[in-house]
Amino acid sequence: MKVLVSVKRVIDYNVKVRVKSDQSGVDLANVKMAMNPFCEIAVEEAVRLKEAGVAEEIVVVSIGPKSCQEQIRTALALGADRGIQIETDEDLESLAVAKLLAKVVEEEQPGLVILGKQSIDSDNNQTGQMLGALTEMPQGTFASEVAVADGKVAVTREIDGGLQTVSLDLPAIVTTDLRLNEPRYASLPNIMKAKRKPLDTKTPADYGVETAARLKVLKVEPPAERQAGIIVGSVDELVEKLKNEAKVI
């Protein structure tokens, strides 16, 4: 079975983001970028499926400017076999990304597609589900366990209040949650080897996909600052404040 993994280049999750003063967006100039943490988990799961003999080939795809090749190379160093970069300088919305991925799915015919549950920049949590709808594939979102057997995949999902297991016909979509696995680090020899693995470059036009934005971002503002609080001197004072001032207990 072939496994397709999509990865996104995003701002490193340790970076404190700054909103631009003209409210046009977040300042990404000279900021450290990295693979979206949920995508790392997706790559790791694909590599584990390969190590378990379930997957034969892992194809990793990323959509974005030339710099996103770094994240594809990272995935290749972790164990993916080849990469596809769909080059665009626009910041695409989930629907456009899903449409492009649907074309890649059509071309590659993977048995399983693994994505992160959401990217930590736009926080949309949409792409995997949209890809499921466009390809008519079933979906196992927010996966904390994935088991492939007999033409089906059993996905244990993190839902509000606990876990739910669903059984999906293959081919299927899986989106990863944090508990699915702990991603490995790329070793130096593997990073060197990854440089020689094949990486195709395409454009949205190659796939005939219209990527115009449907949502117009009118402004981006920093969230409201919290009012500075007070330091209490004792537990008694704290309990008294919570009861009488805040009235929350």
Partner: protein
């Protein structure tokens, strides 16, 4: 043009988040229909009919919707979508699961996790884990939206909507429910709790979380953790509050032994009141805390428990 809200329920009862989502729909303005899809969901439908501002409750009672599998539920919503200008669901794991499928099939962009309605086509939503708020305007004919429930007050429950049965039985036939393991806890769920007490690296080890559990039991609170505590192996990561964990906004959040790294603040800074207990008076958590107590948690937490 009307608004279709998809109710969140477990067949027996309506989930509270639905009330917040109806409140968001009221702010958009227009006739609000509520869809209750499930199996033997009569009780949930009855409750739904009492929500103020709802003009009609559509009930789709079929085995295909028993566990609200995304594939089937999305097909049902698509069947009913005609004539609605807005389709709303709560940004819970259920809503997040099926709504993007609806949006993709309608060929529209989804607006996730809105925290404010500015007009019928303009909404505010947090990005970068709440470190920026984007105001977005949709040019799509149908707006598919998920609503962050902690950002809207619950709608009243003094209404009397008419109830209509929907016959459609949509089954994509590609997915099946196997089992569900719901956490057997008397404590409320993290994302729905009105009080949360969380521990960080300062707790020292997993056993010490018992100190927090005792306080939680007295307050009817949920227990959370910072990423540092999860990474150190003190507690499982479904307890993690933060950018890569759960985003919460309770009435009261008590942070114990948590320094307040930005990843953690991103998950809880919309809490109404924040209390920090930390022995390091320089800890960044004190800059967002309404009430700070500089003290050793191993003395302060048991004392807090005894005084509640």
């Amino acid at each position: 043009m009307g608004i279709l809200v998809i109710a969140e329920h477990d067949n027996a009862a309506l989930k509270g988040a639905t009330l917040n989502t109806v409140a968001a729909a009221q702010q958009i303005g227009g006739d609000i229909d509520l869809l209750v899809a499930g199996e033997n969901c009569g009780a949930a439908a009855e409750e739904a009919a009492k929500i103020a501002g709802v003009s009609k409750v559509l009930v789709a009672d079929n085995a295909a919707y028993a566990h609200q599998l995304a594939e089937n539920l999305a097909l049902l919503v698509l069947e009913l979508a005609d004539g609605y200008s807005h389709i709303l669901a709560s940004a819970t794991t259920t809503g997040k699961n099926f709504m993007p499928r609806v949006a993709a099939k309608l060929d529209v962009a989804q607006i996730s996790d809105i925290i404010a309605v500015e007009s019928a086509d303009t909404f505010q939503r947090p990005i970068y884990a709440g470190n920026a708020i984007a105001t977005v305007q949709s040019s799509d004919a149908v707006k598919v939206i998920t609503v962050r429930s902690t950002a809207f007050d619950a709608a009243a429950t003094d209404g009397s909507a008419s109830v209509e049965t929907v016959a459609a039985a949509c089954d994509a036939g590609k997915s099946a429910f196997v089992k569900e393991e719901l956490a057997q806890s008397d404590r409320p769920e993290l994302t729905a709790a009105s009080v949360i007490i969380s521990g960080g690296r300062g707790m020292g080890n997993g056993e010490n979380f018992e100190l927090l559990e005792k306080v939680a039991d007295k307050l009817g609170a949920a227990v959370g953790a910072s990423r540092a505590a999860v990474d150190a192996g003190f507690v499982p990561n479904d307890m993690q509050v933060g950018q890569t964990g759960k985003i919460v906004a309770p009435e009261l959040y008590i942070a114990v032994g948590i320094s307040g790294a930005i990843q953690h603040l991103a998950g809880m800074k919309d809490s109404k009141f924040i209390v920090a207990i930390n022995k390091d008076e320089e800890a960044p958590i004190f800059s967002v805390a309404d009430y700070g107590l500089v003290a050793d948690l191993f003395e302060a937490v048991p004392e807090l428990e005894s005084k509640l």
